[in-house]
């Protein structure tokens, strides 16, 4: 038993405690103490903290092969209306409402009254605010007076009432606070913006330059969406001006806003796995609604520290490539981003052109794009056959004579951008399934993706680690994913009783539930 008996005397023990105390004291004294916000903002990373298996690539050279000489600015993006004549649009819109009504009446799992009821108001929130994507003037003008403490500009008296008191609420600036604007190094700014983005409800953040590459991702004109009728067809240009502005003919991004902030808005996993359904789309709608709140909050912050932004909202650009180029994820077969943290469970990539000095972040490689070659589970799950099943990606885009989903006249250039080696998705067929089935949003591809997994089971991190190092097990892992029953959730109780078991299916996990 001697070898298990402690030989430490009480005297030695107290001596050790004393030494330890002195050590702790010395370390504390030598530790940095923050004297002001400048010092505090030096903490944190310029880039996201990544798992060991994520490799960094060169700027503007992601895992998806891109011929930047071929890439040209698209006129605009459209995945449904522009490919149908009026009679077809009318017919299919009626199918949408009829099928939705029928599913609600039948209490169809995933498409119940509750699923429809939770989905539509989120889009209402989006539509109320979605056109605030150039500067902050629109937000400022539309912000109604609220309850806030301020000072009457005439009398100087303190005012707490539902009136405009001073500029010190809503959108503020260093000028009306009476302080100098924030000045930091690009690296300090990167950490600061990463924190602000998380605070406002965003997830991963990346940084790019507005240069010969990224400017090609901005559409020539603002989209032709009925909900943005006042902006339809306006030309998107850069000018040497101080603030972004908009006229009847154009929308102007200031040349000085030559840095780009890229922020991801994620979507919740559990409902998204019940696809295709209204329920899956409701999490999509929720994330879009959250992105609007994020935009107003985040742009207000940048304005308040003294800088200018143009973006993001329903801005006229392809948002996914900004995430791919800035190293948030890799481009996958389903033409969404696949991220190391949550796979394709990304709803939106927010893009802000700004004059705040920032560094750039590089694209990443963790084997996802290569994995997509041997996997194709998303393509097999797609009810619209909108995702190609062939192995090798191609520079070809969807053929104009593709009869999938019977377009009146398919114009693939409105949803496929030439110049990158991908699996060209037929976005019209995708959207058309949402409309005609009534199962708005679908998300079968997202639910089926091998990278959409939760973080609870350790196997997922093991698979990601192997996939990043070699592609020889890709086919095996894709087959195992299917054999193990992953993908679209088959748990019937989850489909049937989702709404009545919140603790099981949407547990409260800490203060922040968006990660």
């Amino acid at each position: 038993m001697d070898k298990f008996h402690s030989t430490l005397s009480r005297r030695d023990f107290m001596k050790a405690v004393g030494l330890a105390g002195a050590g702790v004291g010395a370390v504390t004294a030598a530790s940095p103490v923050f004297h002001d916000l400048d010092e505090v903002s030096q903490i944190g990373g310029v880039t996201e903290k990544r798992p060991w298996y994520v490799r960094e690539l060169e700027y503007a050279k992601p895992t998806v092969e891109i011929d930047w000489n071929v890439i040209q600015r698209q006129t605009h993006y459209n995945n449904w209306e522009d490919h149908l004549d009026q009679a077809e649009k009318d017919k299919r819109a009626h199918m949408y409402y009829d099928n939705t009504k029928q599913m609600v009446l039948e209490n169809n799992p995933g498409n119940t009254m509750f699923d429809v009821a939770i989905r539509h108001p989120a889009w209402t929130a989006v539509r109320r605010n979605m056109d605030y994507f150039f500067g902050v003037d629109g937000i400022q003008q539309d912000t109604p007076p609220g309850f806030e403490m301020g000072f009457d500009p005439e009398s100087g008296h303190c005012v707490i009432s539902p009136v405009w008191a001073t500029d010190l609420f809503g959108i503020i600036t260093p000028d009306n606070m009476g302080v100098p604007r924030w000045e930091g190094t690009p690296e300090q700014n990167a950490a600061l913006i990463r924190m602000a983005a998380r605070w406002c409800g965003g997830a991963e953040v990346g940084y790019l330059k507005a240069d010969e590459y990224t400017k090609k991702l901005v559409h020539k004109t603002c989209g032709v969406l009925p909900i943005l009728a006042d902006k339809n067809g306006k030309e998107v240009v850069w000018e040497d001006v101080d603030q972004p502005y908009e006229t009847d003919k154009k929308m102007v991004i200031p040349e000085k806003c030559n840095n780009i902030i890229v922020v991801v808005i994620r979507e919740a996993r559990n409902p998204a796995l019940m696809a295709p359904s209204y329920r899956a789309d409701a999490t999509t709608a929720k994330s879009y609604a959250r992105s609007i709140a994020f935009d107003i909050h985040f742009r207000g912050f940048i304005h308040a520290i003294g800088y200018t932004t143009a973006g993001s909202g329903w801005g006229p650009w392809n948002n996914v490539p900004f995430g791919v180029l800035s190293g948030i994820g890799e481009l996958g077969r389903m033409r969404g981003q696949i991220t190391p943290s949550c796979g394709p469970l990304i709803r939106k990539v927010e893009v802000f052109f700004t004059d705040l000095p920032l560094p750039t972040t590089n694209p990443i490689d963790f084997g996802a794009n290569r994995f997509c070659m041997d996997c194709g589970l998303c393509a097999k799950a797609c009810p619209a056959s909108a995702i190609p099943t062939f192995r090798e990606p191609t520079y070809e885009i969807t053929p104009a004579d593709d009869a999938n989903s019977n377009p009146t006249k398919l114009i693939p250039e409105y949803f496929n951008l030439s110049g990158k080696k991908v699996w060209p998705n037929n976005d019209f067929a995708c959207h058309n399934f949402w409309v005609t089935s009534g199962k708005h949003g679908c998300a079968a591809c997202v639910a089926s993706c091998v990278f959409s997994k939760d973080i609870k089971s350790s196997i997922h991190e093991v698979v990601k680690g192997v996939v990043s190092q070699t592609g020889i097990f890709n086919g095996f892992f894709a087959n195992m994913d299917h054999a193990f029953g992953y993908g679209i959730v088959k748990d019937q109780n989850m489909w049937d009783n989702f709404w009545f078991e919140p603790d099981k299916y949407w547990p409260l996990e800490g203060i922040e539930t968006n990660l």
């Binding site: 796995l273 939760d454 350790s458 193990f484 029953g485 992953y486 088959k490 748990d491 989850m494």
Partner: protein
């Protein structure tokens, strides 16, 4: 960060520590020394067994019950076989020596 989940794994860690201590003491008392390959096979089985438990438990939390049972089959069964092989290698070797 502390949760019931953390506590369970802490208890499993303690149980493993106590188990190994008892095992080594018993082996010492009985004068049994294990070959390196017997240790490797046994420990590999144990690691695979713990991996199975972790994934079995969490697959239910992820709402994939089929995956949970597949883990029992695909990793749990080999784990038990490896531990049994290690045990049988030792007992049969000792039996043969005596």
């Amino acid at each position: 960060m502390w949760s019931l989940y953390t506590l369970i794994w802490m208890l499993i860690g303690i149980a493993l520590g106590v188990g190994f201590t008892v095992l080594i003491n018993r082996l010492g008392q009985k004068g049994i020394s294990l070959r390196l390959y017997e240790w490797i096979i046994g420990i590999a089985g144990l690691i695979l067994f713990l991996f199975t438990i972790q994934n079995f438990y969490t697959a239910f939390q992820e709402f994939y019950s089929q995956a949970a049972y597949m883990f029992l089959l695909v990793t749990g069964l080999p784990a038990i076989i490896l531990m049994l092989v290690s045990w049988q290698l030792v007992t049969r070797r000792i039996k043969a020596q005596s």
